[in-house]
Amino acid sequence: MVRIGFEIHVQLKTKSKLFCSCPTNFLEAEPNTNICPVCTAQPGSKPEGINEEVIRKAVMVALALNCKIRDEPLRFLRKHYFYPDLPNNYQRTSEPFAVDGELNGVRIREIHIEEDPGRYELREGIVDYNRSGVPLIEIVTEPDMTTVEEARNFLKHLRAVLDYLDVILYPEIGFRVDANVSIEGGERVEVKNINSIHGVVRALKYEIARHKRMLAMGKKIVRETRHWDEVRGVTVSLREKETAEDYRYMPDPDIPPYHIDPALVKELRAKMPELPHQKRDRLVREYGIDESAAWTFVLDKELGDLFESLAKQFGVKNATSFCLNLRGELNYRDKYLAEIPNRERLTKLAELYFGGKITKPVYVEYLRKILDDPAFVPAEQEQLSDDAIRQIAHEIIKANPQAVADYKSGEKKALNFLVGQIVARTKGRADPKRAIQILREELQRL
């Protein structure tokens, strides 16, 4: 049997860092501009505080994952190891502040708070400390998943919860997964630092296949840590657990234990926004769509929101088909709707299509363009006049005598072929319904 568990790192969306007041927007800032004596570990600097905003966001996540918040002083530990991106050469990480949660049938073992290191460019030998001290939470699951599919479903659900809480600093990169996987007869292997759900699925499939192959060849699977090489699509061994480092954990004397106020927990529980499963139930109830479509929509927060707004404007049926198409196109691109810029273009597209201003092929073409080209703006297209369509129909009939003959002999499919030719020739500017009508008339005349 396969067993899969995760450790998920989430960069929390806060204005300032965990232990100092430097801003967290490390992606936009020039290298080494969001820094101060604290987050570059100048001699004599001390952690200024525990950013309250971090505690609030972390507790929100824990509550959404049905965890118990520990009602006792939370200690921060120093985890010692030398690396250029870590200015103190120790990382500050809290003990678990939340335990015993559950999501999607997977038990959450614990959640704790950590500081992110800076970014070290190994090849250039350059370090950027803008990220140093950005708050992270690490969510640790029990190894409760037994198939890649379950693992994928769990991660998608978790990701949706985090999006609904709006707690991820940079949604496109702020979600890093370490996957633990084992199969019966082998030791547990950890694959570190996978930065997308799609990547996790690929890495798990690769690992499970590798384990099975090893066992079939009579080889032993040792406990080890591996790296996921996204480009080559393989995992590579980093180190075996036997030689694991001793991090010399010790409570940070500069940070007095922090007691999370039960009153704060109560307040946050009351403020909890609608979560994905609640929204799914509401969509089923209010719009009468089936549960699986609803779940598909709500798993992508923006898509769920779009569905609701389209349903109000164009009706449930139109909104459902539009959003299912969109979901398919996004899946193909392995993207969340939030990653698509200028999303108001999608509402515009729906207006054009459901308002009969563009044809279905154009709608499909536009949808893809919106997803692939941030500059593309859908606009109403001039429709060809009946005369113009007739002109083209003549040409198509002339050019395809065989299809015409087939049609004449009762082969109905030939008509579709001819219509397709017209649509292609006109680049979608001919309304297919009109094209069929005119083509039929012209074929009758022959």
Binding site: C36, P37, T40, A41, Q42, P43, G44, S45, K46, P47, E48, G49, I50, R78, H80, F82, P84, P87, N88, N89, Y90, V127, D246, Y247, R248, Y249, M250, D252, P253, D254, I255, P256
Partner: protein, 473 residues
């Protein structure tokens, strides 16, 4: 030596300008420094600029607490733009980009900073001999060590080069040189003075504090230095009335304890001085009580089990990458290893090695044991302070010793801290003041009190200064 009060009065009355006072001190500096080596970096130009500014302010009737009194700053506090070495080759060229909170408070209150003072490397030492910039000498007799680690602070105050000095105390580093140089030094209650900008030794023990020629200087300094700082999580939201209560020591309402366990095995002259102080207070009507400190022996081993791992952890940041001494080697690992190998002195390496060993996962029990022992000591002192308001002991069990005498015998060197470490482990305030002399060598006595009674200890020293006589032999 003119006492701090008199100097202040002369400046405030306009009899002497701050800049004139500074020039006097610069003369003393030029005269004594070549022998003492109390400074690592002199900031004479900066001091002159500062004094000129303060001249104008005082002339126009203004002026903050220090009115241009001359300060020396131990070289493990950051002062923006002025190098901070911590007495180490590792930081020989390090220029801090920010200013420590206690230093900023001194500047804001018109203290003139004459320089950064010599110290044992990273404050690791009790003799002032481990500095990369050479040993400091005792201001009373240059054949002798000045004590440490705030060696330059003790010597510069005693020699009259500075009026006041800022030191730091982790296991006795203020009190030890205060005792050896015959000045007053206060290790405040842990958290009463912000540690922001003080380079770490052992974070749960470190506390900044002043050295001064007299109790008044300590009180004046503490009124400024104390107070909450949002940049230091352990700093306390407390302020004590130092100057306000300096003359309110009331012998009729104070109980002072003497405990034989604190006098075991100390030098006879040191013992006699301590007993002399106790007899003095008794003669003034203070109730003397015998207090048992049964677990005091545990303080010494506990100190090392706590200090070593915290120190090793704090020293991780020195890797030659962002700042500090750097050896460029072929691999990253070698760059870090060689930078540390070259940048650190022997005692630093000893402590990092010990601390790393103690904090390894397989030895986790030791550190836990030490934390339990700390709690036991805390309870023991809490009980003692139910019976006594002040506990008296020698500051250092021995007289000052000669340079080179103990530097190769770490155990003997460490013994100098035996009576000062309990206050650090329990966070209580402790003050050392000159109470006796053996020839030219000063002998300090230590007073300890419950947390946040620092001002009462200062007033007790003031009382002794006014009413008592120093023992001598």
């Amino acid at each position: 030596m003119p006492m701090i009060e008199e100097i202040l009065e002369r400046i405030r009355s306009g009899e002497m300008k701050p800049s004139e006072h500074l020039e006097e001190k610069i003369e003393v500096l030029e005269h004594r420094e070549p022998e003492l080596n109390a400074f690592i970096t002199k900031t004479v130009d900066l001091a002159r600029e500062q004094a000129k500014e303060i001249d104008k302010i005082v002339e126009s009737g203004g002026g903050e607490a220090f009115y241009g009194l001359i300060w020396g700053i131990k070289d493990n506090f950051a002062l923006k733009g002025i190098r901070m070495t911590c007495g180490s080759k590792m930081l020989e060229d390090y220029i801090p980009p920010y200013t420590a909170t206690p230093v900023q408070k001194i500047l804001d209150n018109h203290g003139v900073i004459l320089g950064k003072l010599n110290m044992d490397e990273f404050a690791c030492g009790s003799s002032g001999e481990t500095s990369y910039f050479g040993p400091t000498r005792n201001a009373r007799d240059p054949e002798y060590v000045p004590g440490g680690s705030s060696s330059g602070a003790g010597a510069a105050v005693a020699a009259g080069i500075v009026d006041l000095a800022l030191g730091s105390d982790t296991g006795g580093s203020i009190r030890n040189p205060a005792s050896f140089n015959g000045v007053v030094g206060l290790k405040p209650t842990y958290g009463l003075v912000s540690r922001y900008g003080l380079a770490d030794l052992a974070m749960s023990l470190d506390v900044p504090g002043p050295l001064a020629p007299d109790a008044y200087g300590i009180a004046l300094a503490m009124d400024v230095l104390q107070g909450f700082d949002s940049k230091d999580r352990v700093s306390a939201r407390r302020k004590l009335p130092f100057l306000e209560s300096i003359d309110s020591f009331d012998p009729e309402h104070v109980r002072i304890s003497v405990s034989e366990s604190l006098l075991n095995g100390v030098d006879p002259a040191v013992r006699k001085t301590t007993e002399h102080v106790i007899r003095f207070f008794e003669s003034k009507g203070v109730e003397i009580v015998d207090v048992d400190l049964p677990d005091i022996w545990a303080a010494f081993p506990t100190y090392y089990l706590v200090m070593y791992p915290e120190f090793a952890s704090a020293m991780q940041k020195f890797d030659g990458i962002r700042y500090g001494h750097r050896v460029d080697a072929s691999t990253l690992y070698e760059t870090v290893a060689q930078s540390r190998e070259e940048g650190f002195g022997k005692e630093i390496k000893r402590r990092i090695t010990m601390g790393t060993f103690i904090s390894m996962a397989k030895n986790a029990e030791w550190y836990k044991l030490a934390l339990r022992a700390r709690t036991t000591l805390l309870h023991m002192f809490e009980n003692a302070f139910k019976q006594a308001d002040i506990i008296v002991s020698p500051t250092v069990p021995t007289l000052p010793f000669k340079l080179g005498e103990r530097i190769n015998d770490p155990v003997k060197m460490y013994m100098a801290d035996a009576l000062t470490v309990p206050a650090n482990l329990t966070g209580i305030p402790a003050i050392s003041f000159p109470a006796g002399w053996k020839g030219r060598l000063p002998i300090g006595v230590q007073l300890m009190g419950p947390r946040f009674t620092d001002h009462i200890l200062v007033s007790a020293v003031r009382f002794f200064e006014k009413e008592g006589k120093q023992w001598s032999e």
